[in-house]
Amino acid sequence: MARRPARAVLLGLPVLLLTLIAGGCGERATTGVPVTLVFKHAKILGPADPVPGLLRRFEALHPGLRVQSEALTWSSDEQHQFYVINLEGGSPPFDVMMLDVIWVPEFARAGWILDLTSFVPAAERDAHFPTAIQPAVQDGKLWALPWFMNVGLLYYRTDLLAKYGFAPPEAYDELVRQVRRIREGERDPRLDGFLWQGKQYEGGMVNVLEALWANGARLLDDAGRPFPEPARARESLAFLRGLIESGVSPGWVTAGDEELTRRPFGDGRAIFLRSWPYALDLFELPGSAVRGKVGVAPLPRLPHGEGGRGSTGGAHLAVSARTRHRALAVELVRFLTSDAAQRAMTEGAALRPSRPSLYHDAALVARDPSLPALLGLMQRGHPRPITPYYLMLSTTLQPEFSAVLVGRKSPERAIADATAQVDHLLRAIAP
C-alpha cells in the first residue's frame, strides 16, 4: 500500500524543487524584469501628499524601476514595533525606510541599516542642519539622511496678545500671567490657556524634556547617568503639574497628543499651544477659525535655564542592511533628501526641510513667510539624548513623568523612582 505514494513523491519532488528554484531566480534575472524597491513610510500630515509625485519622478529617472510605497501605522510606537519585529529576524520586506530621528542610533547599533558614509560626500552632509546630522552619526559613520525637520515651538494668538498689549512671553511665569489676564478680560469659559502634549507617549516625553531643558536640567549627563541636576528637574516637573492644578492648562492635556491639542487651538479655543511646525499650515488654511491670527515664538524659559530649547525631531531615511538593491536604494534616499525633493515637500505638505539654505529661498518664503523665523528656531533646537538606548529610556521614564502630571506622584518620588529604574537599565547595557 505504501509503494504507489512513494513513487509519486520520488517523481514529484525534483519537479517541485526545480519550480521553486526557477521561481527564486526571478530576482536575479537580466534586464527587462522590473526591479521593485519597497519604501516604507508614515502618512505625511498636512494638506497634500508630495511623496507619490516624487517617487514617480525617481522612477522616470530609472527606467525599469518601480518604487512601491507602503504606509506605516499612525502611532510612532507601533511603527517602531513593526520595524523591530521585521528587522530582527532576517529579511525584512522593504528596502528604504522612514525612521523617526530617535531610532537611528538604535537601528545602527543593532546592525539593521546600511552605513551610508561612503555613499554621501561631505558637502551633501553639511548641507543639512548639524542637529539633524548629529543623531544620524554613530561611531563616526553616517547611517541615515534627514528627510524633514521639526522643532518644538510656541504658537500664540496674535490678536489676543495684541488686544491686551502683550509681546510673546519669554519666560513661563510671564506666559502664566498673560493667560490669567487674557482670560479675565475675555470672560470666555471655553477659552483654554496653554495646551501641550501630556499623554503617556513619546510626545509627552518631548514636552517634559523641553521643560527640563528650559530650566537648565538635563536628562542624562555625559557619562549617561540620569538627572544630574535633580533639583531643577523637580522644579520643571512641579511646574508642569502646576499648570494643570492652577487651571492654566485644562486637565485633559494629560491625555492630549498632537492632534487632540491642535484642534481646539485651531478652533480658536486656546491662547497658547506647544506643538510642531506642521500645525501652522493647517491653521492658515482657508476656512480656519484662526487664519491670520497665529504667531510662532521660541519656547519660554524657566528660572534656571534659557528659552528657545525646543526639541528637534523629524524623520530620516535609511536603507535596510539586507536590501538586495543597495545602490538603487541609496540613490532613492539621496534623491528624496535632495534640495529639489525637499523643496517639493515644503511646497506641498506641512513639512519643513532639513536644509538651512531652503529657509531663505525666495520662492518658498513667498509661499510661507514664517520660514526665516523658523530657521532661527531650528538652529536653537536641542536634540533628545543621542543614544541607541533612547527608546528604552523613554518608555521606562514615561510612566514616571505621567504619574507626576496626573498628580499621582510627587516630583521628588518620581525622579527617585525614575533614577532607580534607569540605573537598573544601565546595569544591563553598560556593566
Binding site: W252, P399, S402, L425
Partner: protein
C-alpha cells in the same frame, strides 16, 4: 504490540508538543530571568538574582502587584456574588432556557479585545452610553486614575460572571426539590431554604469557580492592555502588563522574564493553596 508500548506511542506526540512548548519554555524563562538579555543589541550576560533584587525595591513592581491584587480580589468577589445571584434567578426558568443561556454566555464567549473595545466606547466621555445614561455628565472614566481601575473591574466582571453563573446554575439544577420539602421549609425560595439547603450544596462548586477565576484574574492581560494600556499613570498596570512592557517595549527580555516568573510562582502558589483548601473541604463534607 503490548499495551504499554502502545500507551507510550499514543502519548508521545502530545507529550512532545507540551514538552517543547510548555515545559521547556517554563524552564527557559527561569533561565532568562537570571540574565541580562537584550537581543536587539546582542546583550547576553549573567545577572544572577539582580533582577529579583531590583524588583524587591522597585516601586513600579509593587504598584503593579497592588493593582493585580486589588483587581483579583474585587473582581472575583463580585463575579461570584453576581454569578450566584444570576444562577438563582435562572433556576426556576422553564421556557426559553436556551435563549437565556445564549444571552448569558455571549458576554463570556466574546474575544477579550472585543469586550475591551466595547467598554472603551461605553466609557467614552462624550460618545459613551454610560455618561449619556447618567444625564450627560462628561466623566472621563478611563482617563481619571481614581476611576480607571473600577471601570476595568466592571468590564471584567461583566465578561466572567457568566462562567460562575453557569457552574452554579448546573449545580442548582441537580438539587432535588424534595430536599426542600424534607427540610420543612416553604419551597425553594426564602432565606432559610437558601442558608440551610442551597448554600451548603452550592458552596463546593463556588469554591471551584473561585479557583478558576482567581487564577484567570491573576493572569489577565488582554482586557487591561487594550482598554487602558495600564494607564493612566499605572493605575491599571497589572504585573502582566508591566512584564509585557518590559519585554516588548524596552526589549529587556531578562528583566521581563523575571516579572513573568514572579507571576508564574504567584499563580502556582495560589493554585496549590486552593486545591489543598478544596481537598480539605471535600474531606470534611
Amino acid at each position: 504490540m503490548t499495551d504499554r508500548r502502545l500507551a507510550w506511542l499514543l502519548l508521545a506526540p502530545a507529550l512532545l508538543v507540551l514538552g517543547g512548548l510548555t515545559v521547556y519554555p517554563a524552564l527557559w524563562v527561569l533561565w532568562l530571568s537570571l540574565q541580562y538579555r537584550i537581543p536587539v543589541f546582542s546583550i547576553a550576560r549573567w545577572a544572577g538574582l539582580e533582577h529579583y533584587a531590583f524588583l524587591a525595591v522597585d516601586t513600579r513592581f509593587w504598584n503593579a502587584a497592588g493593582v493585580t491584587g486589588a483587581f483579583t480580589l474585587v473582581s472575583v468577589a463580585l463575579e461570584c456574588a453576581l454569578g450566584l445571584g444570576v444562577a438563582l434567578a435562572l433556576r426556576g426558568q422553564r421556557h426559553w432556557r436556551r435563549a437565556a443561556l445564549a444571552l448569558l454566555l455571549l458576554a463570556w464567549a466574546l474575544p477579550s479585545v472585543v469586550t475591551a473595545k466595547l467598554f472603551e466606547w461605553l466609557y467614552h466621555p462624550s460618545g459613551g452610553l454610560v455618561n449619556f445614561l447618567l444625564g450627560g455628565l462628561a466623566i472621563n472614566w478611563l482617563g481619571d486614575p481614581a476611576l480607571a481601575l473600577p471601570a476595568l473591574i466592571a468590564a471584567d466582571v461583566w465578561r466572567t460572571t457568566p462562567f460562575v453563573a453557569l457552574l452554579c446554575y448546573a449545580r442548582l439544577l441537580t438539587i432535588p426539590p424534595e430536599l426542600y420539602e424534607a427540610g420543612q421549609v416553604d419551597g425553594a425560595a426564602g432565606w432559610p431554604a437558601f442558608a440551610r439547603i442551597t448554600w451548603p450544596l452550592v458552596r463546593p462548586i463556588l469554591l471551584v469557580a473561585l479557583l478558576f477565576r482567581t487564577l484567570d484574574a491573576l493572569r489577565a492581560f488582554d482586557l487591561m492592555f487594550v482598554l487602558t494600556g495600564g494607564g493612566p499613570a499605572g493605575s491599571t498596570e497589572t504585573l502582566t502588563v508591566y512584564a509585557y512592557r518590559a519585554l516588548f517595549q524596552t526589549l529587556q527580555v531578562g528583566f521581563g522574564s523575571a516579572i513573568g516568573v514572579v507571576v508564574f510562582v504567584l499563580v502556582m502558589l495560589v493554585a496549590v493553596g486552593y486545591l489543598r483548601l478544596i481537598n480539605r473541604q471535600e474531606r470534611t463534607a
